[in-house]
Amino acid sequence: MADEGGTDDPAAEEEYEYFFTGNVQFEGEALEGVLITVEGNGFDADTETDADGRWTIGVPEKAEYEVTLDQDTLPEGVVVLEGQDTVTAEFGLTKRKAVNFFLGEGQRVTVNYFDQVVQRVVSGLNFGLLLALAAIGLSLIFGTTGLSNFAHAELITFGALMVLTFGVNLAWPLWLAIIVALVLSAALGWTLDAALWKPLRRRGVGLIQLMIVSIGLSLALRYTYQFFYGGSTSQLPGATLPSDIRFGAVALSWVDLVSMGVSIVVLLAVAFFLLRTRIGKATRAVSDNAPLASASGIDVDRVIRIVWVLGALLAGLAGILWAYFRPGVSWDMGFQILLLVFAAVTLGGLGTAFGALVGSLIVGLFVEVSTLWLPSDMKYVGALVILIVVLLFRPQGILGRRERIG
């Protein structure tokens, strides 16, 4: 229903500069032929509502008027509550003033509390799985090299930006764009390690120093993205298609389903990799004691390279899903969730892959569910407070282990 909002009754327009306008509805249905009177400052005029229940009356000056609805012209069975048939209305700064009469009980069907909780829980889980995908890469890199990689956010953004470049700017088919984006993400991880981290490790630069390097890298990459992609948000192909797969109160889109599915499968695969494969165990060995790992015949640099490639790949994948889930691609999209990703990894226990998963789910849930009680502009507060509280009781994180002393 595309009303001509703002266009005026041509007759009135010629006569006066200022207008009252409004609607008369009963239980949400427009009422036609209801008589409306405007009175005041020695002026008085009336009109009837049209088929859409709307009316407009021009008045000569900007002042206070009484707008009255004539009860007698209402259809059978419709009544106006005592005293609500007349409204005193005054113009503000503009030349138009709306006066509506909404009659009847006006029952709005709101979503009940339980359904709201269910909705939030589902989107919290969905968000949590997505965070987990991003977090697990971070956790892997931390676990293997001890580096808190603040540039992980930019690896997340990278995946999405590549799909944007190939899928939208170059208009390649989406599946191809995604594959290329993932390959490039992995390549970025490889390159970063080869060009930056490996030489730094060689020189024995400390972990905190490396962390600051990652902060610098994050800054440089982020603004490079802004340099080339600008400051605004774009959408990937198909990201804005409305869809309604409904499970009771919960509306999910195909994007949500795919992203949940992909997250679960990938997370299981990573867990298998870490716990069961030789390289997976080697990553943990390297993180514990790199010189000893080397003395055991493990090619430390190669293991770290693999982890970087894998971490960047997972981050890129998370970025693509994130671009669909949000939806939108922008230069700082990864940076915006970096803190949540870190919180998730820490909450679960630094360097433990399952910890990252558990932590992510908790953070995701808290972000979404906590706004049932918190103002929505404080929605991250819930997740951050839970992080602090959990660490109060388990300083080593949920799945982390305490080291023995002595």
């Binding site: 630069v205 400390g206 120093q209 610098g216 340099f227 919180a343 990894v345 951050l384 109060l392």
Partner: protein, 326 residues
């Protein structure tokens, strides 16, 4: 290219109150991280408390400047206690995330519209300097020499800021060469060992957290004095920059943070001026004015990386330490 202006502007940053504020905040971090080994990533939170702790009583209660100052110091101590009690037991990397989280909780609390009447929410607060300005002994007008021509008000805040920085550096120097400083440095290396020697590690860590936090708090006040306060100043990025400054100067040094802050701001100003003029002069034809603004941050990021790569111990840091870093 107007090199004079570029260097002149860079020279202004040499002594600007912002430089002083960052230097002081970095000095606080030096106490936390450089000397005690506390990976506090919530310095922005302490600065926020300084700024709001000063501004709110000044504006809403009309308190005199010293009462406002005390309020923010008190707020900072309370924050340090609340933050410290649960977190000082944590391993360094956990502590980092928790302190970021706590600072973010603070920032979001000051941002939310719920408390807008007190905090001004995202719009922040302004014009709380009046009472302090009544102390300004300088005559009205703009004066100075070379590139350093400022209004009396700017001079006043500038001088005040640097006096505080010098006092703080002196205090830190005295402390770090005392047995107290030795315990603190011992804790950085291995707190269990220090505990086994009969030192109350928890209490020392708390003292360090409070002291460094107070520096951050005063830095917050210095930072917002010449301007207004909005919560978005105090994002994690602020702490990141302060860390960069700290490492640039040398983490476990006293003059390092100050030198780091000066170098950081002079460089930033230099990049800004140079790139903008280079684009204006058509030296970078492929680039728009808008991209020039972004290029500067790319360069800052790269500069941070290069500094750490080529001087991992910082300008004033001890090179020998490098052989043993973990």
């Amino acid at each position: 290219m107007d090199w004079g202006a570029i260097f002149g502007n860079a020279a202004v940053e040499l002594i600007s109150p912002t430089t002083a504020a960052y230097a002081l905040a970095a000095l606080g971090l030096a106490i936390h991280f450089g000397f005690t080994g506390l990976l506090n990533f919530g310095q922005a939170g302490f600065m926020l408390l300084g700024a709001y702790g000063y501004a709110i009583p000044a504006l809403k209660l009309g308190w005199p400047w010293w009462a406002c100052l005390l309020t923010s110091l008190l707020a900072s101590v309370i924050f340090a206690l609340i933050l410290g009690i649960p977190t000082l037991r944590l391993r360094a990397d956990y502590l980092a995330i928790v302190t970021i989280a706590a600072a973010e909780v603070l920032r979001l609390t000051f941002t939310t519209n719920e408390f807008a009447p007190v905090t001004g929410s995202a719009n922040g607060l302004s014009e709380y300097q009046r009472d302090l300005l009544t102390l300004n002994p300088l005559p009205d007008g703009r004066y100075g020499f070379g590139p350093w021509v400022f209004s009396d008000r700017a001079w006043f805040f500038l001088i005040l800021g640097w006096i505080v920085v010098i006092l703080a550096a002196l205090l830190t120097w005295l402390l770090m060469r005392s047995p107290w400083g030795r315990v603190i440095k011992g804790i950085r290396e291995d707190e269990d060992a220090v505990r086994a020697l009969g030192k109350n590690v928890y209490s020392y860590k708390m003292q360090s957290l409070i002291l460094g936090g107070l520096f951050g708090t005063v830095a917050g006040i210095i930072f917002v004095m010449p301007r207004a306060v909005v919560p978005s100043y105090f994002q994690p990025t602020l702490t990141f920059f302060i860390y960069a400054i700290l490492l640039l100067g040398g983490a476990a040094t006293i003059l390092g943070p100050i030198l780091g802050s000066i170098v950081f701001w002079v460089l930033l100003s230099f990049f800004s001026g140079f790139i903008a003029r280079a684009v204006e002069a058509g030296w970078l034809p492929f680039m728009t004015q808008v991209q020039a603004g972004q290029l500067r941050f790319i360069l800052v990021g790269v500069a941070i990386m290069l500094i750490v790569v080529f001087m991992p111990q910082g300008i004033l840091g001890n090179k020998k330490e490098l052989a043993f870093v973990k």
